[in-house]
């Protein structure tokens, strides 16, 4: 496990130490160590079933790990009180995979929801903040629409706008470019870079899209079968020699076990002969 040596301990906004988790006896996370530093974009790569969504759930405090600690802004969220967890979460904005927008509320109201519920701002102020957030994500003219009326890309943008509503220090994006066409996906990448430049937020992106990952990332981490097999600056990461990383980066399929393949072909031929 390689923790990038350029990182000073005090810089870490999120620091994950030895986190393990298993479901029904199957290890989903195995002693994961990871730091996310202030102001950087860290991309967490991993195939399907590698445990990246599970790790995200733990970082958000939606699940408790079996072992290890997760410290966000100096508070260990695995053993803090619900109210402490609440204060930590107020500094985190999350855009979920499918957007998780509330279908009964318009886009404006979706973005306004955290402001209305968690702050004592006046309605006019809230309107102004919502408008600014929607401009920042390029949705200023779609505020009165409802989530089902939006395209996939617009929904992701709206989710980012809602995640940004309370001006979080940390922005967490779950599969921002999944299911989007290359143009929309590139637009979203630009949005992520823009948010980092103009608001200085720390961004953790979970994805399996290589191109967008290397475009936006400062550092890249890779999960494989619940283990973190590499964390590195993206330039070094691209040349990494670990076989699993090479397989992932070069888009090689898993080798089919030879015996199984032969058996399959033989049984198929037998079926044809009959």
């Amino acid at each position: 496990m390689t923790n990038s040596s350029t990182v000073k301990a005090g810089d870490a906004v999120i620091s994950i130490r030895g986190v393990s988790m298993s479901y029904n006896g199957r290890r989903v996370l195995d002693r994961v160590d990871l730091d996310v530093c202030r102001g950087e974009i860290l991309v967490l790569l991993g195939g399907s079933g590698s445990g990246k969504t599970t790790l995200l759930k733990h970082v958000l405090g939606l699940a408790k790990p079996e072992a290890g600690s997760i410290t966000i802004n100096g508070v260990d969220i695995t053993c803090c009180s619900p109210s402490e967890l609440g204060t930590v979460r107020r500094r985190i904005g999350v855009a979920f995979q499918a957007g998780a927008l509330f279908n009964s509320l318009s886009i404006e109201d979706n973005v306004a929801l955290p402001l209305r519920e968690l702050t004592r701002l006046a309605d006019t102020t809230i309107k102004l903040v919502v408008w600014m957030k929607l401009i920042a994500v390029g949705l200023s003219d779609a505020g009165s629409l409802y989530p089902p009326e939006l395209s996939g890309g617009m929904r992701k943008r709206a989710a980012v706008a809602r995640a940004m509503a309370l001006d979080p220090e940390i922005l967490i994006l779950d599969e921002p470019s999944a299911g989007l066409d290359p143009i929309v996906s590139a637009g979203l990448d630009e949005l992520i870079l823009f948010l980092k430049r103009s608001f200085g937020v720390t961004i953790l992106v979970v994805t399996h899209e290589l191109e967008s990952a290397f475009h936006i990332a400062d550092r890249v981490a890779m999960l494989y079968q619940g283990r973190l097999i590499a964390v590195d600056k993206k330039e070094q990461f691209a040349g990494h020699a670990h076989p699993r990383i090479r397989q992932f980066l070069d888009r090689q399929p898993d080798a089919m076990p030879r015996v199984a393949a032969e058996e399959f072909i033989a049984s198929y031929l037998r079926g044809v002969q009959r």
Partner: protein
């Protein structure tokens, strides 16, 4: 040993289930004041009103029509028997007592269970699948207060109202029958109704409808929250919600009626 282990494990799972049900229930009850208009959080009561329209107001035509039909059936069936003893006027007592004690709350609850238990579990199940519940938690908003409490409040307010209305429908059906079959005037019918109806029965009816409302909304919410995996799990949960809530309503009705008779409350009627 293995049999013992199996039994023990099953018992633990069921006890945990029951515990989760109860804890959920208390946490919702504690949050109910937050949904009320004056004392609660701003704006929250609006979603309660929306739920009242969805659970209560739009169920009125169906439960009303069901009660009308049942009232008619009840008087039709009983009249053919009672006529042989020349006791046709007892149809009024039968309809009134039958509806206030039993049929009014039951028919209303069954129609609402079919409509709303499924709708509630589908809505909440979809919110689980699309990570909306997670999003609420992460935003620091309590899903119990935000999505469950308005539904509980709406069901607890609207189901007694619906029950009263559909009981009236059933009693009105009795009048229709008697007006056609023996030209009974409305005034005489109402006098007979006033004699047959008991405040205690009406109170019992309202208590029953509150219990049924709790069952419907509680089962719907829990089945919804239990959804794991993809959209097809939502379909399973809606079916389970309707089946379980219908069964529990009948069971609760049986228990309530047994208590009612064991306590001797029926004697004066």
């Amino acid at each position: 040993m293995t049999v013992l282990e199996q039994v023990g494990r099953a018992a633990i799972v069921h006890v945990e289930d029951a515990g989760a049900l109860t804890m959920q229930f208390w946490s919702v009850l504690r949050k109910l004041p937050r949904v009320l208009p004056m004392v609660g959080a701003r704006r929250r009561w609006r979603s309660a009103v929306e739920q009242m329209l969805a659970i209560g107001a739009s169920a009125l035509p169906m439960s009303g029509a069901m009660s009308l039909c049942t009232g008619f059936i009840l008087s039709l069936q009983s009249a053919s028997e009672l006529r042989r003893y020349g006791a046709l006027e007892f149809v009024v007592d039968l309809v009134v007592i039958g509806f206030t004690r039993e049929l009014g709350p039951l028919i209303t609850a069954l129609s609402v269970s079919g409509r709303s238990a499924s709708a509630i579990s589908a809505e909440i199940g979809t919110m689980v699948v699309t990570e909306e519940i997670d999003a609420l938690r992460v935003m620091g908003l309590d899903p119990v207060e935000f999505t469950l409490a308005p539904k509980y409040l709406a069901a607890l307010i609207t189901l007694p109202c619906l029950t009263i209305l559909s009981t009236l429908c059933g009693i009105f059906a009795g009048y229709l029958f008697l007006a056609f079959s023996m030209d009974m005037s409305l005034r005489i019918y109402l006098q007979a109704v006033a004699q047959a109806i008991l405040l205690r029965d009406v109170a019992f009816m309202l208590v029953k409808s509150l219990v049924f409302a709790t069952i419907i909304v509680h089962v719907g919410c829990l089945e919804g929250l239990r959804v794991r995996g993809g959209p097809e799990a939502v379909g399973h949960s809606t079916t389970a919600a309707v089946v379980k809530s219908t069964f529990l309503i009948i069971l609760a009705d049986l228990v309530a009626t047994a208590v009612f008779y064991l306590m001797g409350w029926s004697s004066a009627g």
